[in-house]
Symmetry: C2
Subunit: 248 residues, 2 copies
DNA sequence: CGGTTAATTGAGACCACTCAACGGCTGTGG
DNA sequence: CCACAGCCGTTGAGTGGTCTCAATTAACCG
């Protein structure tokens, strides 16, 4: 590693296992100055032309769709370092919205810069490709979980996934990580009403499987959590396993 | 159009709206001789290295995952003409399986040929890219539907989607199309038990919204079906509409 | 014509929902 | 410093969609 600390984006992309020396810095070089978004703001709305690329530098954001009946479905959670829309420029308009959950720092990335970088290095191209495929694999896993797992198992599965993803970018410490979402927002992820999230969380807490307080999630017993959720991390495709020195 | 009838793959890809004259034939040229698979056979299994590309030439196939508890989740339906795995070569191993539902003809495609074709034409590259993005958009829509739509609305939504997709490859006639799946398999798609699929189908049939018999689905009243399902086709990103949008 | 698979029907149980009310915390303005 | 509003979390009660188990009929196939 060189002098500058690699961004969370690069920390994540290193898990693909392809990046050569210096390429992390090249990727960081194209990420512009972040703009601040307040909580619950749209970064891009459904119907917009997807002309810009964005990276979540800080905070939690999501992809979401709203059903006819007005129920919101969060179809992806984006953590610090995640690309929002590496891929969608080919489509004419957004079929979903991207919005912040917490306050966020969002950086614009020029799609021309991305193209240049991809053309300049097969390993970078392969790494960005890997990133979009992992996003898709997560989507498949979420679909498989939804409606087939009971809400308590489903929630623990989500926490297991987020723990690994947060750990991969240096944001998990001692089995706990920050997740300042309301129970309503968690419900929009796993597809249940907020009232039900509440009851489930209490039961899980009583079982010693998880604690949620002050916007942090703690998994005191990883093995039990994994067993309870039926969690298998293969869909995250982490070629370089887990731990990154935690930041904060 | 030239002499030879375009394959269903090309019929589908034309909806992207990018292909130039002659490029459809180029794409068809790389699709090899199909091999026959019986019903309920794995084309690729979870854990396999994703080294080959496949196209479903004839029949119905699916991506699926199996939960710890043994429940199967079908996370994508693949119709004639669909690429199975245009994208997954970057990942080390399959995180899901691809299997036939009905008897299928499956053609192998050399990934070298695909690469050559992509390098030879930006419009072909853009078109194949579009294809994988539409697959992902369908995945998002399925995730949004699952667990948020009541099973009857969900099922009608699926039928509306399949109707447009089948129509787009010339396999829908007078609002009906072939879909020789068991109620169990349909249940694995929308995440409900086969017994419940049965009751729902009967209710929908009684309402005149759909008929299922002899392995065919018929939607006698498209507008009512769309209204009932809350269906909005935008996520299929058909730049050249397959069916004219319902008037009134 | 017998065997197998799929569709259908019924009964009872459970998971998650809605509606509603209450408590706790925080920020604001008087 | 207190009153108040507002959001979030919590709790209760009753409803309903979907489940499992089981049995029966219908359709298909050799």
């Amino acid at each position: 590693m060189s002098g500058a600390t690699p961004s969370r984006t690069v920390l994540k992309l290193r898990h693909a296992g392809h990046l050569l020396a210096g390429e992390g810095e090249a990727i960081d070089g194209m990420i512009g100055m972040p703009r601040r978004f307040g909580p619950r703001r749209d970064v891009i709305a459904r119907g917009d032309p997807p002309d810009r690329l964005h990276v979540i530098v800080e905070g939690f954001a999501c992809r979401y769709k709203v059903t006819e009946a007005g129920r919101r479905a969060i179809v992806a959670l984006m953590l610090p370092g995640d690309f929002c829309d590496l891929h969608v420029a080919v489509l004419g308009r957004m079929d979903h919205s991207i919005g912040t959950l917490t306050e966020c720092q969002v950086a614009d990335v020029s799609s021309g810069d991305v193209q240049t970088l991809i053309d300049s290095s097969p390993t970078i191209a392969r790494t960005l490709w890997w990133s979009t495929l992992v996003d898709e694999a997560i989507l498949r896993q979420w679909l498989a979980n939804m409606g087939r797992l009971r809400a308590d198992h489903h929630l623990m599965h989500l926490f297991c996934e987020l723990h690994l993803r947060m750990e991969g970018i240096g944001l998990a410490l001692n089995g706990s990580f920050r997740l300042p979402l309301t129970q309503e927002e968690i419900g929009d992820v796993i597809g249940v009403a907020s009232v039900h999230v509440n009851r489930i969380v209490q039961a899980l807490r009583a079982d010693g499987l998880v604690t949620l307080q002050g916007g942090r999630v703690a998994l005191p017993d990883w093995d039990r959590a994994v067993a309870f959720a039926g969690f298998d991390a293969d869909y995250l495709h982490l070629k370089r396993p887990g731990r990154v020195a935690p930041i904060i």
